[in-house]
């Protein structure tokens, strides 16, 4: 980017008249300092303005028509659900070691309704780190070699066929259930699902099949759902099937037994399928009680910051609020709610809006300060979970197959009271019924509404067109600064005078040919490349470390750090000690190195914003100031003025904050208190990232490399190599 700009600049120079766009470019580049300050401030400000700019959600798809049909779920269905809850919480059913009894009960209940029932056995897959699988979908039909017959899960699947439907589409209802240690909440969620299921077997308006998946969550909710989905989406043919759970004699026996004991032809041992999935709902009931009112939490983030279509959230929100009188909330970063600076910021915005309104009554963009704080907290959590790239619930498994799914977690107000239980069964059931009826009306996949959005409240969102502005403003200075640095570096070496715009201009005493000089940036690029290479190696190291058996997170982390340093030293020695070489020849060309770094960071951020916006935004917040401020510490120290000292401090602080582990600890410390921060936590965090194939991991790796480059250039004049590594 910088190079092309520079080329066009030099091309245009001899001509008397320059095209306006070029002139504008030159102007921006020559005032890059001012531009970068303005743009960065505007970018951060725009980010804080997002809750104010959030729009109200609306149902975009005409076909959905939520709430147009009155709920049909009656007390009869609720009492059916209650019966199941009683049977499941009955201590007799829990006597079985494997919890197979509970599954049997559920299956029998489903069969009694006339649904098709089948069991799905699966082996929990251990999370594995696949260095090159960040963007690919989960591997199909992969079977672990060393499974044991004792560890398997059983999903119970009930399917209602739409009486007049074509059987090409299905809606999935998932209730995670751990038969071994189920709380009352889980049983209640099953009760809700059952009451809806019993209603749906009777209705005539089904156009899509209904699948009720009771996911065995003893190995994690996500694992069970993912295993079932893998099986569902990638059929295995008998000739190709490799040994799996059926080979275990004891398991087989259990199922044989079951096949006989459960009457009815609708039970089958084979895997049952319905049509393609239109949407999926994961239903949970929380055990702890909410204090104020019945609330329902929506979790939507899937892997790599993918979100389900906004219409699905809208439908749930609309039905919950306007039909069932439930309070809906989405995740918030709770610590932010009490922060006073955010409150004052909100008040500033509020008063500004008031002033604007008094000037021109049609300007109505202000929101109350409290709402602003809540919006910001929700936005922050939305950003955080999207950036993390780890799904917030079992719904994430569906997103991998492009199925829109969300998790609904009902937090009831009262406890265990019979009346209350019926009430929550009725309202929860009617909510689910309403959503299913609405999705049932769909003719196509969800496509009308947004996929790229951030929520600031359950009924407010910021769309991609708005939040991209903040990001664009933030990264806009990067190419300009890169270009200006490049120009300065070239011009300062051309005319051996100091340039006024760069106060620390270094006079170039060496005489190179112009041709050589114009290619000088390749040296810096090589340096940057080597540091990136090191970063890549460092990011691949955990794969090997994770192979070491019986390793505590802390030791793993230590091994990682040690290996990183080691790899740096080896790289240094093998590749003709680029750093030392750089030290000798490029002592005065830090500007070029910075220019190349900034360009690469710009490209990286730009690419990342396409893959996962939230990650790019957070990364930009950390890296852009760091990249822009970076200067050799030596120069600042030498200058000795107050300004340079400030800059030095900023550099050091930013350099450390933007270092991923440091950033992680700082964040964790801020949220949880510094007392319980542990070195091992970072390892676990990173482990979870790669377990979920999160692209964020790649990105952290990128941050790492960029950081390394910047840190390197900051330090290379001041300390020797060892100090550099220490500072990392």
């Amino acid at each position: 980017m910088a190079e092309t700009k520079e080329k066009s600049l030099s091309d245009e120079k001899p001509k008397p008249r320059v095209r306006p766009i070029v002139r504008l470019g030159i102007f921006l580049i020559s005032h890059s300092f001012l531009v970068s300050v303005v743009c960065c401030t505007a970018g951060v400000l725009a980010l804080f303005l997002l809750p104010v700019l959030a729009k109200n959600t609306y149902i975009s798809e005409n076909a959905l028509m939520p709430g147009s049909a009155s709920p049909m779920l009656s007390n009869q269905h609720v009492s059916d659900g209650n019966r199941l809850v009683k049977d499941l919480t009955n201590p007799n059913s829990k006597s079985s070691e494997t919890g197979i009894e509970s599954h049997k009960i559920i299956a029998q209940y489903m069969l009694d309704l006339g649904a098709e029932v089948s069991f799905h056995k699966f082996h929990p897959q251990m999370n594995q780190f696949h260095p090159l699988h960040f963007f690919s979908s989960p591997v199909s039909g992969k079977i672990q070699e060393n499974y044991s017959c004792s560890s398997y899960g059983i999903n119970t699947v009930g399917i209602i066929r739409a009486p007049r439907g074509d059987g090409k589409e299905a809606i999935v209802l998932v209730t995670p259930y751990n038969a071994l240690k189920s709380g009352f909440g889980e049983a209640l969620s099953l009760g809700i699902a059952y009451s809806v299921f019993s209603l749906l077997t009777q209705v005539t308006w089904l156009a899509k099949d209904i699948i009720w998946l009771v996911a065995d969550s003893q190995y994690g909710e996500y694992a069970a759902v993912a295993a079932w989905l893998r099986e569902y989406q990638t059929p295995k043919f008998s000739s190709l099937s490799t040994p799996n759970a059926e080979m275990c004699p004891d398991v087989n026996n259990l199922f044989e037994l079951k096949g006989h004991s459960i009457s009815g032809s609708k039970f089958s041992n084979s895997f049952r399928r319905a049509g393609t999935m239109a949407a999926a709902l994961v239903l949970k009931v929380r055990d702890q009680n909410e204090q104020f009112e019945d609330t329902i939490s929506i979790y939507a983030e899937a892997s790599n910051g993918q979100m389900p279509n906004l219409d699905l959230i809208n439908v749930v929100n609309y039905l919950a609020v306007h039909r069932q009188g439930l309070r809906v909330n989405v995740e918030k970063l709770w610590p932010l709610l009490n922060s006073s600076w955010l409150k004052s910021l909100g008040e500033i915005f509020e008063s500004l809006a008031k002033v604007a309104k008094s000037l021109y009554p049609k300007w109505k963009f202000g929101i109350p300060a409290t709402e602003y704080v809540e919006g910001t907290a929700t936005l922050a959590s939305s950003l955080y979970y999207q950036a993390l790239g780890v799904p917030t619930g079992p719904h994430g498994a569906f997103r991998d197959y492009q199925v829109d799914a969300i998790t609904l977690e009902i937090s009831p107000k009262f406890s265990l009271d019979k009346v209350w239980r019926n009430d929550i069964l009725l309202r929860g059931g009617r909510l689910i019924e309403g959503v299913i009826r609405s999705v049932n009306n769909l003719l196509e996949k969800f496509h009308q509404s947004f996929f790229l959005y951030l929520l600031t409240s359950p009924s407010k969102f910021v769309s991609v067109g708005v939040y991209m502005i903040a990001f664009a403003l933030l990264i806009a200075p990067l190419p300009m600064v890169a270009a200006s640095l490049y120009v300065d570096a070239n011009s300062s070496s051309n005319c051996s005078k100091g340039d006024s715009s760069t106060p620390s201009a270094i006079t170039d005493t060496d005489e190179h040919g112009i041709a050589i000089r114009s290619w000088r940036w390749l040296n810096s690029a090589k340096l940057v490349f080597i540091v990136h290479l090191w970063g890549a190696i460092v990011s691949l190291l955990p794969y090997f470390i994770s192979q070491i058996p019986d390793c505590s997170p802390t030791t793993s982390f230590m091994i990682w750090v040690l290996l990183s340093i080691l790899s740096l030293l080896t790289l240094n020695s093998v590749l003709a000690s680029p750093l030392a070489c750089a030290k000798a020849t490029q002592e005065k060309e830090w500007a070029l190195v910075k220019s190349v770094t900034i360009s690469s960071v710009f490209i990286g951020l730009g690419l990342m914003s396409v893959i996962n916006f939230a990650t790019a935004e957070i990364g930009a917040l950390l890296m852009v100031p760091m990249c822009l401020l970076a200067r050799p510490l030596k120069l600042d120290v030498r200058a000795g003025t107050l300004r340079s000292f400030c800059r030095l401090i900023c550099n050091l602080v930013l350099g450390h904050i933007a270092f991923p582990p440091a950033a992680f600890f700082l964040l964790k410390g801020m949220l949880d208190g510094f007392g319980n921060a542990n070195v091992g936590d970072f390892w676990m965090w990173v482990e979870s990232l790669w377990a979920w194939n999160s692209a964020t991991y790649l990105f952290i790796d990128l941050t790492w490399r960029a950081h390394a480059v910047v840190a390197h250039q900051s330090c290379m004049m001041f300390w020797n190599l060892d100090v550099l590594v220490l500072s990392l």
Binding site: N62, M65, A69, S70, R164, T204, W205
Partner: protein, 403 residues
Amino acid sequence: METFINPKSLFHLLLLPCLLLYSSIAYNSSPVEAAMHTNNWAVLVCTSRFWFNYRHMANTLSLYRTVKRLGIPDERIILMLADDMACNTRNKYPAQVFNNENHRLNLYGDNVEVDYRGYEVTVENFLRVLTGRHETAVPRSKRLLSDEGSHILLYMTGHGGDEFLKFQDSEELQSHDLADAVKQMKEKHRFKELLIMVDTCQAATLFNQSPGVLAIGSSMKGENSYSHHLDSDVGVSVVDRFTYYTLAFFERLNIYDNASLSSLFSSYNPSLLMSTAYYRKDLYKRRLEEVPVTNFFGSVMETIHTDAAYKALSRRNSGRFEDEMSLDQSVHHIKRRMLIKVNDGDEIHDINPELLQGEEGASKCPWSTFRKKFQKAENVDSLLNYGLVAMIPLLVISTWLVQ
């Protein structure tokens, strides 16, 4: 003598009066004279697909039921339904369609004859129906076989916008397409009078381009047409406001009622419709107060009393009828002239009647002499009998000459 008279030329000579006589009768039954309301047709179109557009099908079926009840037979109704709601899997009541949440009336009963269904309802087919340009294989039941004596009701409902109506979620009928089709129909004498009734958003824009007929739309430009109510049992809106109030008007009527079009048009209350029903009558020749709604929505036409049942060969030439009509014949003619003028695009409305009268007199000159003859004769039967009797001596003479 024999050589002097060429038998062939004589034969031609003899044929001449017969031809003259025949041509005068033919002239009498020419379109200008014959444009009398003789039959009724209805073209009812629902243009939108998908379950959530249930109400459009219900609208159309309600209209279908109404016009059938008021006397238009099934073979003269072209019913076009773009989707099948009755058998939609989402329909809680399979094979039934309701236009009210009380579910008292199943619109999709036994006697519904859908002529164009599903993906057959396209702009192309619609225009083919109007203009009568079908492929040869299209059965007669799917054709609009109207003539110059037909009153046609064209009812359309669906989703529309400024000067267009969406068909099938994939194509549009534009106002100039409609105008063009109506013009063609006019040229081909496919109707005597045409009432276009449109229930869509911005319906009034659809007949903006002057099709030259009576037209009413549910809403003005920039307005939406809204649904009337939601059936929370079926889970969709079941009828649109405009159609609902139209039906409410017709439910009070039976086939013998004499309600006029203007009473229908003034029955629309903008606050109930939530839009302004707009009708244009500037191109319509009769006064709306005098036109019974059954002229379009039913199949009730003027009855003509004759002396002897089934005696006349041509009812138009019945002497009594002529006597009755002769007084206002010329007035009618002027009106018709004016209509033709307007149709030609002339904006002059106040044409001098005397001028027209003169013109008419000139054009009617040969005709009026014959008419006097007819008036002398008691009826056309006797005229014809006289003619035949007169031909006998001519035939005798000619055969004698030839011999």
